[in-house]
Amino acid sequence: MSKLIPIPKLPGLSLVVGFVVLVSLLWFTPASASELAQETEEYCLSCHSNADLQTTLPSGESLSLYISSEELQSSVHSPIGIECEACHTNITTYPHPSIDYQTVRDLSRSYYSACQKCHPDNYSRTMDSMHAQAAEAGNLDAPICTDCHGSHYIHPPDQPRTLIPATCGNCHIQEFSIYQSSVHGNALKQEANPDVPVCTTCHGVHNIQDPRTQQFRVNEPDLCAGCHANQEMMSKYGLSADVYSLYSLSWHGVDVSVYQARWPTIQHNSAICTDCHGIHDILKPGDPNSSVNPKNLLVTCQKCHPGASSKWTGAWTGHYKVSLQRTPFLFYVDLFYSSFTPLILWICGIYVALQLIRLTVDRARRSLR
């Protein structure tokens, strides 16, 4: 028991031990701890969380250097440990190396190549895109990764899906507003419809191609068919899923398929879906403003067939099966040929076969006699 009684005679010993411990702490931690801290987000934010932090570039533009800690924490990178220096590779400590960017755009265009390190596939796809071509032609406003995805506060680009058209709409203002009033855009806006196409559904994501080329044109019906030939999806909305297969059999469709297979780059104007239905402004055929509404159909046809008169639109059977109700004349012509052709074939075949038998038998008999 006596051993548990503290020894009041030696107060200096605990002081010495405490001193040694403290000194040893000073000895070990500060050197390594300060180096680690410099490369962490925390370290950077110690200055950059100041909302007033900014600098002026040689172009006269002021560049805000403020980073919101909360937003950074909710972005995709920071929580999984991808911090500032992953992209800002040239900045390891303070003071930073001097900035040699003339403009804010310069800075963005220089930094976005950092995305390539971790996202090489999407990066190289982007290099094949219409946007990269525009940049190569000298348009520095052509979008780079960060223009669509953001730089510091990156979130999944399609959550929610309604975000996508808004992102593209930052630059493509007119297309965005037209799209929003279309049957597709409206359904997205009103009910966050999961099936309607957004920009990227048709144009692709990273390797977005020029939609004005002949190649894009001949492939366009297949693009629409991606959804409109999908029986399951179309039945949800009471739409026919046969529109594409019937179009493929029509005059326009066969023509386009031949050009698609043979001469995909040669300019050709046989109608594809968008020629009649519109592109970003597609409306329900029942909508009085729709280009394929019976009221407007003739004007739409006249775009390619200037001599067409009011009776012309009755020729259109491209999306309908031949039926007695809708196209009685065509129905009877079809009925006539589907019964007439085999009938002629059989009658001729049987008659000639009988003739042949009788002729051969008679000749054989005569020669045997």
Partner: protein, 246 residues
Amino acid sequence: MSQSKSDPSSSTSRVKLLRTFPRFSVSQRWEHAILLLSIATLLLTGLPQKYRTAVWSQTIISSLDRLATIQLIHRVAALVLTGLVLYHLGKAIFLMARRKLPGDMLPTLQDVKDAWNMLLYLIYFKKQKPAFGKYNFEQKVTYWFLFFAIGIMLISGYIMWFPEVITRILPGGAIPAAIMAHSTEAIVTTIFIVLWHFYHVHFERLNLSIFSGWLNEEDMRTYHDLEYNQLVREPRSNESSGDMKL
């Protein structure tokens, strides 16, 4: 009027007389030749267009220039065929107006009976083929089948050629109907010509009377018994040989 031709190869001791009977006028023979050429051209230039998605067609239509050429040839041949049809109809109207159109080609009840008897003969219910006049029912079927087939082909062809003009008069449904009729009728007609016509003029016997204009006595007796008997009794003059005098 029947002509006599001596066989030059036979010796003087045995002269073989080959009696021939006029069957087709020069005009009719030319009509057939032009018809044959224009239909063959239309078929050869039309099939690659109908089957434009097929590989064999694409070796023919290998470029857009070729397509344009093929379409041009098709349309020129169509115009030739149109001219021929107009000539043929015009001639028929001309002869009709003069009450000189021979009724040989018109279908009669006798043809139905002939067809029935022929069928019985073919299935060994009868020993003898029915006796025929100038045109038997097989030849009438050929003529009238092609008459309507060409009519359908021409009408539907012009609808496809001038769709915008045609639909000022006809309802728009005429266009898809014409497209369907034109391509299907072409195939039916081809099958018909190959099976029916080629059998009768090439296989059953080689009948070149549409090119030469005459038939020999043996063929006349075998295939046109009634006409033969009639001609032997009262030979017809050239004026009434079934066509205009040229």
